[in-house]
Symmetry: C2
Subunit: 366 residues, 2 copies
């Protein structure tokens, strides 16, 4: 399946923090065909370090497909012969210099200065992402979403859609979600992703330039993102206590690493030069601020929660408690737990294990 | 119970890394009386950010007692009317400038230069701590340990004792332990405690001075130590989604924090000026290197593992797997799981819940 990145311009977007964002540009991808009455659409919202590239390939020669390609496509769980899939790049996407991502954020040039907005870019929210997606959906002729879904930050957007526009969302599939709010421990974990950036002197209060940017801080930040997204079973199986170099014993020098330390350093560094540090800070804050808890009386959609059993970032109990809370006020809410020892990442790599459950849920009456 | 800090000098200590440490000074505390044949001693080894102050008070006016005072004392689980308790400050203790701690590490003055050893101080190991404790024990006339115990890093020392000196240890009580080895995921978590120090420009490769030291890095490091030591239940109950200041909404500025973020910042800063960054790096490496897995055929002691149910750093399954492994080779090994939602810290604050189990284990025949 070949997909294309397109973009949509929003002249003025009112943000929840009170500021107005001018000339926001949003990237998006679609698969399948929208039906005549505009009611067969499924929104797939992306995770923290992801993009709208949820399925298919840009070119036939691409080595990898979109992150949920295992469940999106013809005859797959989200069947693109039946449904029209829309996915949008978030505001403040972490990879503004990736040529396949179109976003508006701190790295965007401020037309009044000719330099990036940097530290002056406002705080954004999950609600702002939903507001921007709503405009893209209207532009495409979508009248109502058959379902909204996504993993992690994507699940937050799906839930936010259901409270902001209860009449336009029939089903919510919240994969590896924090439940109805980002709770205290998650808020603190997310905070730890920002600390390395603030420690890096090249951050310069957010007013760095392309020439000198907080690369060391971003690498450490991504290392923590990766560490928080895996699980002990995976780490033990992949690395155990192996050394990074077989002749360099960690017991003799602090410079000698274990293999898992080296791996996390390398993963952290892999795309760090494409990442914008100010965008990390803003996406983290958007995640921390997520809460629909006070607005659940507005809900009309039916819910399916898909936590990962070994998730150490958004624990399965978050989803179990959320489903129970929703059922207690009469909202239909099922839970399917992804088995596995891959941690939070199972919501991406092992999602096909919930394929039948997702397909049945999409077929169900609401 | 009033205790006194004493010290013991070791002219030369052979370290496992190959280097010889000269003029090591080790602080220690004791409670109770050693019996005539020197066989009623219990060693209590301390955790990462702890010291030998496991029980009692230095002065009657002290606000707090030692960290395991709830189980050590007359008629308590570790009954000092029956047992003689010894506890030693580790090499490279994190708080060399705390007047109640006596340690030898990177902050110690190098007699040949008159300046701190700093980055030149060697890598130390759990085995080195045991070797130093063995000399203190000999000096005091201890012939055999009725039991060796400790939480977290203390549990590692207890297990190391039992493989290094199998004839001198009758019982091991490993509280909130990593099992028989520090596994890959723990190695990576521990690595994350070092990263903020390396990011701080004031670290200067370990050759900082008292005037300019990596305080910001140490604060972030301690923040992570604290975060890794708690649990989601505790965080939710204590802080929820409260803001640090009721009028400063985190949704409007990155400068406005949540209450749990502020708390962790304050906890991180609380004793940071007393902490030596180079010592953090060395204790972390000692923890990462811990493994008795290849030497368990030497064991003659009986084991009791006490994991904490909600521990997110040294997961209960580490202890369950270790006990199973030991039983499979004929070593007696029981497990008592501490109920609670305090995370790793339950091994300190909730240890009294295992008081009866500990007392019975100490009374049991070996």
């Amino acid at each position: 399946m070949i997909v294309q990145k397109r973009s949509f311009d929003i002249p003025k977007l009112q943000l929840e923090c009170g500021e107005v964002l001018e000339n926001a540009r949003i990237g998006y991808e679609t698969c399948g065909e929208l039906n005549a009455d505009g009611t067969n659409a499924i929104l797939v919202a992306h995770y923290f370090s992801g993009s709208s590239h949820c399925a298919g390939r840009f070119h036939q020669t691409d080595q990898t497909a979109g992150y949920w390609d295992s469940i999106i496509g013809e005859k797959k769980a989200i069947d693109t012969s039946k449904y029209f899939v829309l996915s949008c790049d978030s505001l403040c996407n972490l990879f503004p210099s990736d040529s396949n991502i179109i976003t508006t954020g701190p790295a965007t040039l401020n037309p009044s200065t000719g330099r990036p907005f940097g530290s002056r870019f406002p705080v954004v929210s999950i609600g702002d992402f939903v507001a921007s997606q709503r405009l893209v959906a209207e532009h495409l002729g979508i009248k109502r979403f058959h379902a909204v879904t996504g993993p992690s930050m994507g699940a937050m957007q799906a839930m936010e859609w259901a409270v902001q526009f209860p009449n336009d969302v029939e089903r919510v599939i919240a994969v590896i979600s924090p439940g109805l709010s980002a709770e205290a421990y998650l808020i603190a974990r997310l905070n730890s992703w920002c600390c390395p950036i603030y420690l890096d002197p090249d951050f310069q209060g957010g007013n760095y330039t392309d020439g000198v940017k907080p690369l060391a801080g971003v690498r450490q930040s991504f290392k923590l993102v990766n560490l928080d997204s895996v699980h002990i079973g995976w780490a033990k199986r992949e690395f155990g206590r192996a050394w990074a170099k077989p002749t360099l014993d960690p017991a003799t020098s602090l410079k000698n690493d274990f293999a898992i330390e080296r791996f996390l350093d390398e993963i952290g560094a892999l795309r760090a030069d494409l990442v914008d540090a100010n965008s990390i800070l803003r996406l983290v804050r958007a995640l921390q601020n997520f809460s629909i808890e006070d607005r659940i009386d507005r809900l009309r959609a039916r819910f399916l929660f898909i936590p990962a059993k070994s998730d150490l970032l958004m624990f399965p109990q978050y989803s179990l408690e959320a489903a129970e809370k929703l059922r207690s006020i009469g909202v239909a809410a099922d839970v399917h737990i992804l088995e596995g020892d891959g941690g939070h990442l199972d919501g991406l790599t092992a999602i096909a294990r919930a394929g039948n459950t997702i397909a049945n849920f999409l077929d169900s009456n609401v």
